[in-house]
Structure formats: structure tokens, C-alpha cells
């Protein structure tokens, strides 16, 4: 279980005027600004739960992950992860926790991944048989068995991320922090990583905190979402709750016959956002107007196909974040 109470983190960073004069000035006097990365947050994550942390850049997601994993010290507040204070770096805690950072490699670049795994076997004291079983299972799931003997720096980004995942999960951690695990990966690699995380979670049931800018990651893997803005939580709840509370629009997609397409372009729909692409018209309509808008469309032009659906979770979350930024 993860319990966070009144957690705050501030960073003091120095600023410098641009150019040579700015550098010269900073030799004699420096100006500092204080950045509030986390602002009095509370969080509880239950055993086996996976939560998605979302927010724009600088919202505090990575800072929270770093505090929970013990990399950085909080300015104030209490943190307990599976009964340990992460900052104390108790080896009993570090042995059952893992952090995977999509943007920061932890494996040794100059050596093949397998050499790194062998060192991790020693560090985590993984029994021989269990180690090879894990390596085989994880590398087969991620389809990188043939890449384990190649220098890490010579692997593709996707392969590197996969071997990083294996390295982080060899010791079967009970708490896993995933900080943008699919960043920069192509669609196939993203899918493979997501599928793997899903399977791993079903098999070992760890607590997982996933940070990602890709909504597919969140939607596919998380039951609960925490949206962050400027170091605070602006939403904490299930994906269903987001849909219920914030899905105010319906998405109407219609294929219009070619001869009527120009006519369709001239149609006006109040309170709606309309887009035209090829022979498709897409309307974001408030949910209470969706039926009327569809009727008006069908009565005005010849429709070949019509589809009304809920907006995808990504657009809803985007909307929530936009509204918060405008506030």
C-alpha cells in the first residue's frame, strides 16, 4: 500500500540572463527562483492497484514518482510505501521496488544486457534458477531473446526499452513505478510494451504507478486516473467516473454522399464543433443535442453511414486539463 499525506516539494533553481554578460553577472550574483513541484498532496494506492498519473509537462508527476521511489527527498509531508519510508533507502524496500524511466537508461550501455542482468542478479540476490526462469519468461514475452547478447548502446530504442523493462522486473518487485515507458516508441513497440505490462500485472499483481502522455497507455492499463496540474491533484477517480462526470460531448461521424458534401459544409450546428475531412463530417456535439444534430444532418443531406459515440478518454482528459489551464 502507498500512503502519502500533505506531501510538498519545492526546488530552488538559479536563473541566468541570456548571453555572455548574463554568464559574467552570474559569476558575482545569482538570482534564484523557487518552484513548487508538489503542493500538499494526499494519495492512497491499494495493494495490486494500478493508477495512471497524467498532467502536462512540469505538473509534478515525475517528482512524485521520484519521491515514492526514494530518489529525492520531500520538502514536507509523510510518505509510506509498503510500510517503508522510501527516503531511508532500506534495502528491504529497495529489493521490492522498481522504477522504469523511459527517458533514462539504467542498464550499462557498454555491455550486453545479459551482463547487466547478471549483475542485478547479484545485487538483488536472485537465486540462479529463478533468475534464468525470469530472464527467459520476460525476454520471450517481449521478444528480445536474441538481443540479450548485444551491447545495449547498439539496440534500437524499442529494444532498449524492452531490456530496461526486463532489468527492472527481474526481481519481481511488489511496487513498480513506470515513468513514460512507451515514450518515443513506434506503435508496434508501444503495443508490445503495453501488452507485456498488462500480462505482468495479471501474473504478479504489483502496485503500479504509470506516468504517460499517451492516453492509450492509461486507458488500456489503468482503472484509476490521477490528473495533476502545477503540483496538485485536480482529479482522482476511475476512468468510468471521468466519462460520467466529464464526457459532456458526443462524437457524431457521418459519411456524406459526394453530391451533398458541399451542402453539408454549409450546415450550421449551434454549440457544436464541426470538422470536414474527405467525405466524412465529424461533429463534437453536447450530449443533449446529439440526437437533434443527427436528425438535422440526416434530413438535410444524403447519409451513407452514421455513427454516434462517446468521446474517447484522451479527448475528455485533454478537455479537463485545458479547462484547468484556462481557469
Amino acid at each position: 500500500m502507498i500512503q502519502v499525506k500533505n506531501l510538498s516539494k519545492t526546488f530552488k533553481v538559479h536563473t541566468k540572463e541570456p548571453g555572455f554578460m548574463g554568464s559574467l553577472k552570474s559569476l558575482f550574483s545569482r538570482k534564484y527562483v523557487t518552484k513548487q513541484a508538489l503542493n500538499n498532496i494526499d494519495l492512497t494506492v491499494n495493494p495490486g492497484e494500478i493508477i495512471g498519473l497524467i498532467g502536462s509537462n512540469g505538473a509534478g508527476k515525475t517528482t512524485l514518482t521520484k519521491i515514492l521511489s526514494g530518489i529525492i527527498h520531500p520538502t514536507s509531508g509523510e510518505v509510506s510505501v509498503v510500510g517503508f519510508d522510501p527516503w531511508k533507502k532500506d534495502n528491504r524496500y529497495r529489493s521490492q521496488m522498481s522504477l522504469i524511466m523511459g527517458q533514462k537508461a539504467q542498464l550499462w550501455w557498454d555491455l550486453p544486457a545479459m551482463d547487466g542482468f547478471l549483475l542485478l542478479k547479484e545485487i538483488y540476490k536472485i537465486p540462479e534458477q529463478e533468475f534464468y526462469e525470469s530472464v527467459n519468461y520476460l525476454s520471450e514475452c517481449l521478444m528480445v531473446t536474441d538481443q540479450l547478447k548485444i551491447q545495449v548502446r547498439k539496440l534500437s530504442l524499442g529494444e532498449r526499452m524492452k531490456v530496461e523493462l526486463i532489468a527492472a522486473l527481474l526481481h519481481k518487485p511488489k511496487v513498480v513505478f513506470l515513468d513514460e515507458p512507451t515514450i518515443g516508441l513506434d506503435l508496434l513497440a508501444q503495443k508490445a510494451v503495453r501488452k507485456f505490462i498488462k500480462e505482468y500485472r495479471e501474473k504478479y499483481k504489483p502496485i503500479m504507478i504509470l506516468t504517460s502522455h499517451y492516453m492509450e497507455d492509461i486507458e488500456e492499463l489503468c482503472e484509476r486516473v490521477v490528473i495533476m496540474k502545477e503540483g496538485s491533484f485536480i482529479f482522482d477517480g476511475s476512468i468510468e467516473k471521468i466519462k460520467k462526470d466529464f464526457a459532456t460531448n458526443r462524437l457524431i461521424k457521418a459519411s456524406v454522399s459526394l453530391e451533398d458534401f458541399d451542402k453539408a459544409k454549409n450546415l450550421q450546428f449551434d454549440k457544436c464543433e464541426t470538422l470536414f475531412n474527405g467525405g466524412i463530417i465529424t461533429i463534437h456535439a453536447p450530449k443533449e443535442l446529439a440526437i437533434d444534430v443527427s436528425k438535422k444532418l440526416m434530413n438535410s443531406v444524403k447519409i451513407i453511414d452514421l455513427n454516434i459515440q462517446e468521446e474517447d478518454i484522451g479527448s475528455i482528459i485533454e478537455e479537463i486539463m485545458k479547462k484547468e489551464i484556462e481557469r
Binding site: K35, G58, T62, I71, L99, W108, D110, L111
Partner: protein
């Protein structure tokens, strides 16, 4: 036992990493050796000729060649990794792994440091053998098993001492944006006052008296004296004890900076 096994694994992994770069190893070896021999030859031949003597401050021409062949390797061996091995981890966020893994930061760093150091042992012994084959070294060095053993012990202790001294400046990277110059100054002071540039027997007496209160002569001059067999067991153990006391002092200071510095660490980015 378990820490020792982890140490051994880290040490050998680092060695494997170093061996990966074969070209760098040979260029470094040949480049440094040729460079050292040329400087020693032209500089000291002309000094001895102009003075018209056979011995200067206890050094014959043959011995000074040998000294300048060996001392750069002893110096590099003692200095293990390059400047930035720890500060780079802090600046680029590689320190994360030492904070995440159930592993002591110092255990890992000393193991990798000694791997870098021992990488030069091959060069040291290769050069000693080559030199001994082509030149008469009977008067300069008395190669015995006990000499060799005591020499290796001093090299290990002086390497760990330099590791802790260097780590003090490197760990200041928790606060400072660039510690490169500080690292260069530390390296220069150790090499100059330790006798890597000029043997310290060439220094005036008053300077030697002051240097006795610093760790520098114990870090380079002492191993060199052991290499040439210029010691008695009592002076050996006395100097080794002093060196170990410096090592302990640097370790305590380094550890207290590490403990405080971790609070400043941001893991790169906010």
C-alpha cells in the same frame, strides 16, 4: 561475504566494459609510454650532461628513465576513473540507480574505480619487463616477490585514498554546476606534490618538511620508493599507516558530503 561477492561482480563487469574498448587501451598504452620516454630521455640526458655528474639527488640517468617510465602509470593507476565519474552521475541523473538498487554507492564506485586502476597494472608490468630486458636494472630495482606484494598493497591503498579525496570534490556537484576545474586542481596538486612531475627528492628541504603533513608524498612518492625497494619494513608500515589515516579522514569527509548532498539531488529535471 555477500558484499564481497557483489564487489567482485561489479569489479569484473567494469573490467569487461573496459576491455570492450581495445583500441583505446592500446593507444593509451603506446601513446603515454612513447611520450614519457621521449621527455625523460631528452630532458634528463641534457640535465645530466650539463651538470657533468653521474648522480643527482640519488638518481642515476638510468634510474631516472625508469622512474619516468613507471611514475605516469602509477599515477594513472592511482587515479582510476577520469574526472567526472561521480559528478557526471549527479549531473546526468545516473545516480538514480545507486539510490534505487539495494547496493552501497561506495561499494559500487570503489569496485569500478579499482577496475580502472588495475587496468593499468598490465601496462606497469609489461613496461617493467620490457625495460628490464633491454636495460640493466640490477642497480635500480631489486625485484623480489615480497617487494612486489608490498608494492601492490600500497597501490591499492593509495588508489582508494585518491578515490576518497577525489570523491570529495566530485560530490560537490550536488551544489556546484561544474566541478571540472576543482578536479583538475586536485589532480595537479597530487601529481606535483606527490612526485609525478619531478621526484620529490628534488624539492628543497623546507618544502619536504611541509609536504610531510600532507597526503601527497604518501600517494605517489611512497609507492615509487617501494617499487625501487628503498624502504625498510618499519618505514613501510609507518608510511602505510599514515596513508591509511589519510584514507580514513577522506572517507569520513566524503561520506558526510554524500549524506548531505543527497538532499540536494533532483535526479535531473523536475
Amino acid at each position: 561475504m555477500s558484499a564481497l561477492s557483489t564487489f567482485k561482480n561489479i569489479y569484473f563487469m567494469e573490467l569487461r566494459k573496459l576491455i570492450t574498448y581495445r583500441a583505446d587501451f592500446w593507444i593509451n598504452f603506446l601513446g603515454q609510454t612513447v611520450f614519457s620516454i621521449l621527455i625523460a630521455f631528452y630532458l634528463w640526458t641534457s640535465i645530466f650532461e650539463s651538470q657533468g655528474v653521474d648522480t643527482i639527488n640519488g638518481f642515476t640517468l638510468n634510474k631516472i628513465f625508469f622512474y619516468y617510465l613507471i611514475v605516469p602509470i602509477v599515477f594513472r593507476l592511482q587515479q582510476g576513473e577520469t574526472i567526472g565519474a561521480i559528478s557526471g552521475d549527479i549531473y546526468e541523473g545516473r545516480l538514480n540507480k545507486f539510490l534505487l538498487y539495494p547496493l552501497s554507492f561506495y561499494l559500487y564506485k570503489i569496485a569500478t574505480y579499482l577496475a580502472h586502476s588495475s587496468f593499468f597494472i598490465f601496462q606497469l608490468f609489461a613496461l617493467t619487463i620490457i625495460y628490464s630486458v633491454f636495460f640493466d636494472t640490477k642497480n635500480e630495482v631489486n625485484f623480489t616477490f615480497i617487494n612486489l606484494f608490498l608494492f601492490v598493497i600500497v597501490l591499492i591503498v593509495s588508489s582508494i585514498t585518491y578515490f576518497f579525496l577525489n570523491s570529495i570534490t566530485e560530490l560537490l556537484a550536488f551544489w556546484a554546476d561544474n566541478i571540472w576545474s576543482l578536479g583538475v586542481v586536485t589532480r595537479f596538486m597530487t601529481s606535483f606534490f606527490g612526485g609525478a612531475i619531478i621526484p620529490i627528492s628534488f624539492f628543497p628541504q623546507w618544502a619536504l618538511s611541509i609536504l610531510d603533513y600532507t597526503p601527497f608524498p604518501y600517494m605517489i612518492n611512497f609507492p615509487m620508493k617501494v617499487f625501487f625497494g628503498e624502504y625498510t619494513l618499519s618505514t613501510y608500515f609507518q608510511s602505510l599507516t599514515i596513508l591509511m589515516m589519510w584514507m580514513g579522514l577522506f572517507a569520513v569527509v566524503s561520506n558526510s558530503i554524500w549524506t548531505k548532498g543527497k538532499y540536494q539531488y533532483t535526479g535531473v529535471g523536475i
